[in-house]
Amino acid sequence: MKRGGQFEISAMVTDVADHLVDERELLQVSEALDSLEKIEASLAEIVDLKFFCGFSFAEIAAMQGVSERTVQRKWEKARLYLHRTIRADLSS
């Protein structure tokens, strides 16, 4: 975990992910996420948790006190938003 100043490593379980997301895409996702946060913050938060922090739907649902299904639906919507935004940015 990053705690400012210096670098720090905590024990990680890195189940090597199937899909690696490349750096450029990461940056685009970041930016799109910032705009999503302005429109629907709760969606952005789920992306933070799922994509960047690696929490499962069940864990996110427990944290937010909502059903897993709700989290999943929000995730799908967020994903759609992000994809749209990134594609629009690329084509413009």
Partner: protein, 920 residues
């Protein structure tokens, strides 16, 4: 493709939500019915849904943002002067290679650890090397040497470490079936290594069995001090040089609570990890619990749950067999192992594993000392938690368990978001995480003043920022969990109120109240009602405030479960009553709270302290100084019981306590308490941190005990500080205090100048007729008297009395001053040859003062009046009466000002000369 339009997105969002909630096979029908109503919209949604299908099949964002930075190293490669032999380990942080020097200059093998970090910026590599060099200076028998640090040709940073061929410490101990004593002795070597690093200002931050190896020779070696954070501020200030890009779930098994909640990482962080390590070594299990659990559970356990005692933990294992095995590995039986761990080792572990870093062993050396003492069969220094402490923890847990449950997760989320900030927008998110966390820590403490201590009042911006953030986050969370939300809103509202941000406090507390109306939970409903009341009272809405308190109290069933809530409501009720200047009712409510708390199982020091402080303040506000002093004393005792007598709360408490003693005419008793208050604020912050008001109060006491030069010094210092801070009330106080000091020093011109300066300021700040103007006139009278201008003095004295009388009649303050004004007029009347008037005034003063004084209590004010009365009687030839007054006066003054004080000496002299004629 047109540029993406957020407004368009917003407009279709409700339909999209609906569509996504519909099972796949029913979407076709839903779409057709939409198409009939709004073909355009249906088309958009349909396109989106199709896109969604593609995304799902492509697995868009399904992976983790893992960096492409995996070591391309292969055996035979050379890195710097080293040839890689074989990969011997791989983990989240990178890969580890066994290597040897390629130039054959040394036989020695090394381990090269490639780190999965991308170096940020062009200076990154240089900085990494420089910091590596600092770490390389760490040389200790039990620390694996850091030989070198560098950056590979493919820009991956690496560390060259002494190669240790050994087993993880826990495995080693188990394999050798080491008994508890032997395990402790090995552990002492670990402690020695960490202590050495700490002495070099290096914190390990990642102590865990895999970083503590034991070689075949039985020597302990600590690895990975390379990740330590250097404690030097300038290094700390340098922004992160390395960027972590590895993803994956966190398993922070050995992380201290503050690492998860974003607190400061200090040597205490290592103490905690060492505690976990020892716990594992002694019991075979992790303090948080058995078996696999999710990251969220683990984090919750670390931040929130007190670990079971080691002695009970060994038997706790569901499978009895497991306990057997664990005991066997320690060459003993479960029963014997339990007995061995009970008491001292339990206490020792509990101390190392405290949630609050400040409560842990102050250093690794202190930790080691206790282990040594245990091995030497001496008494260890750590003390088991007292029952009161446990009880307070219990109440705290019960009260906030719910709130904390969600909050801890929020904190972790925030922390984790902070973790990945580098992939996102760095600084903003990190600050967010940190503040979130501060908040989480703050909420950990039930009591309001404890919260204030956690966020020093000297930095209102920080607290404010924090609150705004917290509020924002709550909003973002939405109304998914109203019970938590209400509790959190209450906490935030109370914090705002303590920052005197009434407007914000009110908005938040109103929100909490409104949310609570939809709940059935009685304690949440009651707390929301009662918490809203004080801010309304402060805004003058006393009727609604009082009815909210009544409403809250009525909500609570009269059963023990609700005692904490009842106490909560009574304390808020006390605040409301006092704001409505019904101090008596305030006191009654505090007393009621004290009573039910004391007789309940929830009794705890923290709440008792809060009540004692409230009571003391209420008494003081009500002019019941005699009652206030023991209440202050009690509060101070609670404070030190809680180990909080070095906090700002303590500083304030001591100041108010001393002030009360001052008002009781006991400056000699007040002086050391003021001094203590000043010491506390100095220790807490810097010299600058001492409140100007405190300095000015202290100056006032010093003046009374005739240490005029020192008094002038403190008052002037207080004045300067008050001016710097723009603290108007303190500026006024300092001017009044300086006027009195200069007057006593005989510098009347300067004294008058001070009064001339303060008068317009007071006129601006206070309503006309405020008793402060009586005090001002009285000060002028005293100066005129000293200058020998009796007529003018009398004029001022009369004016002072008139103002004060009117102030009291109209319900204002000024009762305390009233008797003094009579005494001062008496002092003027006497040299004017009006002895009978002087006697009458002094008698009046005494009559007003005495009822408030218990027999056996002494006061410099009363002493002074006795002397003045005696003088007036003496002038009229009433020698016997006068002698009695002088004797009383001498006694009071000696006890309260000290025998050497000129006033006390004069009184003694008078009583002796007056006694002479009675001698045969």
């Amino acid at each position: 493709m047109p540029r993406f339009d957020p407004d368009w997105w917003r407009s279709i969002t409700p339909y999209l939500d609906e569509a996504l909630g519909i099972p796949l096979e029913e979407r076709g029908g839903w779409l057709s019915s939409l198409r009939e109503k709004n073909p355009d919209l249906a088309h958009h949604i349909e396109t989106l849904l199709e896109e969604h299908q593609v995304l799902a099949s492509e697995g868009f964002l399904e992976g983790q943002p893992t960096a492409p930075l995996t070591s391309p190293a292969v055996a035979g490669d050379t890195v710097d002067a080293y040839r890689l032999i074989a990969e011997i380990g791989r983990g989240g942080m990178g890969s580890v290679w066994l290597a040897e020097r390629s130039d054959g200059r040394f036989e020695r093998q090394v381990a090269i650890k490639f780190l999965n970090f991308a170096l940020a910026g062009r200076g990154g590599a240089a900085r990494f090397k420089r910091e590596g060099t600092i770490l390389g200076k760490l040389s200790h028998l039990h620390i694996a040497e850091l030989v070198d640090a560098g950056v590979s040709a493919w820009r991956q940073p690496y560390l060259v470490l002494e190669y240790v061929d050994g087993a993880h410490i826990d495995q080693y101990c188990d394999e050798h079936t080491l008994e508890v004593q032997a395990r402790l002795r090995i552990f002492l070597d670990v402690l020695a290594a960490v202590a050495h690093a700490h002495a070099n200002l290096i914190v390990h931050r990642d102590i865990k069995p895999s970083n503590v190896l034991v070689g075949k020779d039985g020597q302990v070696k600590l690895l990975d001090f390379g990740i330590a954070k250097l404690l030097q501020p300038e290094v700390q200030a340098a922004s992160p040089t390395l960027t972590r890009e590895a993803g994956g779930a966190l398993t922070p098994e050995y992380a201290a609570p503050e690492q998860l909640t974003g607190g400061a990482i200090t040597t205490a962080t290592d103490v905690y990890a060492l505690g976990v390590l020892l716990y594992v070594l002694l019991t075979g299990r992790h303090p948080v619990g058995e078996g696999p659990c999710s990251a969220a559970e683990l984090v919750k356990g670390i931040v929130e749950v007190e670990p079971p005692r080691a002695s009970t933990a060994i038997g706790e294992s569901s499978a009895g067999q497991l306990s057997e095995v664990r005991a066997l590995k320690r060459s003993t039986t479960p029963t014997k192992l339990g007995r061995l761990l009970r008491d001292d080792l339990d206490t020792l572990l509990a101390k190392a594993l405290k949630k609050d870093p400040g409560e842990r062993y102050i250093s690794v050396v202190a930790f080691a000392d206790d282990v040594q003492r245990y091995l030497g069969r001496e008494t260890i220094s750590a003390r088991p938690d007292t029952l009161a402490y446990r009880a307070s923890k219990f109440v705290r847990r019960n009260r906030i368990a719910v709130a904390l449950g969600s909050l801890a997760s929020v904190a972790v989320i925030a922390g984790s978001v902070g973790t990945l900030v580098q992939a996102r927008t760095a600084r903003r998110e990190r600050d967010f995480a940190r503040r979130q966390l501060l908040r989480a820590e703050a909420i950990n403490d039930l009591n309001f003043f404890l919260l204030s201590d956690a966020s020093p009042s000297g930095k209102p911006f920080t607290v404010n920022d924090l609150l705004t953030r917290a509020e924002h986050i709550l909003e973002r969370q939405g109304s998914t969990n109203n019970l938590n939300r209400v509790d959190l809103l209450i906490s935030i509202g109370r914090e705002y109120l303590s920052e005197d941000q009434d407007g914000k406090a009110r908005a938040v507390l109103e929100k909490a109240y409104a949310s609570s109306r939809s709940l059935t939970d009685q304690s949440a409903r009651a707390r929301a009602s009662c918490a809203l009341a004080p801010v309304l009272a402060r805004a003058g809405e006393l009727v609604r405030a009082e009815s909210l308190i009544q409403e809250g109290l009525a909500e609570l069933p009269e059963i023990p479960d609700f005692i904490p809530d009842r106490v909560f409501c009574l304390l808020f009720g006390s605040q409301v009553a006092r704001t409505g200047v019904n101090t008596r009712e305030g006191i009654a409510r505090d007393q009621a709270a004290q009573k039910i708390l004391t007789s309940s199982p929830f009794d705890n020091d923290v709440l008792q302290l809060r009540i004692a402080m409230d009571l003391a303040e209420s008494y003081r506000e009500n002019g019941q100084f005699g009652e206030a002093v023991p209440a202050f004393q009690q509060a101070a005792a609670h404070l030190s019981l809680l180990g909080r007598d070095e906090t700002e709360t303590a500083g304030t408490l001591f100041n108010n306590w001393a002030l009360t003693l001052d008002l009781l005419g006991r400056p000699i008793d007040a002086e050391p308490i003021y001094r203590r208050a000043i010491e506390i604020s100095r220790a807490n912050q810097s010299d600058e941190g001492v409140s100007p008001m405190l300095l000015i109060n202290y100056a006032g006491t010093l003046r009374q005990i005739n240490r005029l030069d020192k008094a002038a010094k403190y008052a002037e210092q207080g004045h300067t500080k008050a001016q710097q801070a723009g603290y108007q009330v303190a500026i006024n106080q300092s001017l009044l205090s300086l006027a009195r000091i200069y007057r006593d020093q005989g510098d009347f011109a300067r004294a008058k100048a001070m009064l001339a300066q303060v008068e317009p300021r007071l006129r601006k700040a206070l309503p006309p007729g405020h008793y402060a103007f009586a005090a001002l006139a009285s000060d002028r009278a005293t100066i005129a008297l000293k200058e020998g201008d009796y007529n003018r003095a009398l004029q001022f004295a009369n004016q002072a009395l008139a103002i004060d009388e009117a102030a009291i009649k109209s319900g204002g303050l000024g009762k305390g001053l009233y008797p003094l004004l009579f005494d001062r007029r008496s002092k003027i009347e006497l040299p004017m040859g009006r002895a009978p008037e002087a006697e009458a005034d002094a008698t009046r003063a005494l009559g007003l003062l005495q009822p408030n004084t218990q027999p056996g209590e002494f006061s410099s004010i009363i002493g002074q009046v006795h002397v003045d009365l005696g003088l007036a009687q003496q002038a009229q030839g009433k020698l016997t009466e006068a002698a009695a007054e002088f004797r009383s006066g001498a006694e009071h003054l000696q006890k309260t000002l000290g025998a050497d004080h000129p006033e006390a000496r004069r009184a003694v002299q008078l009583s002796q000369t007056q006694a002479l004629p009675q001698q045969p």
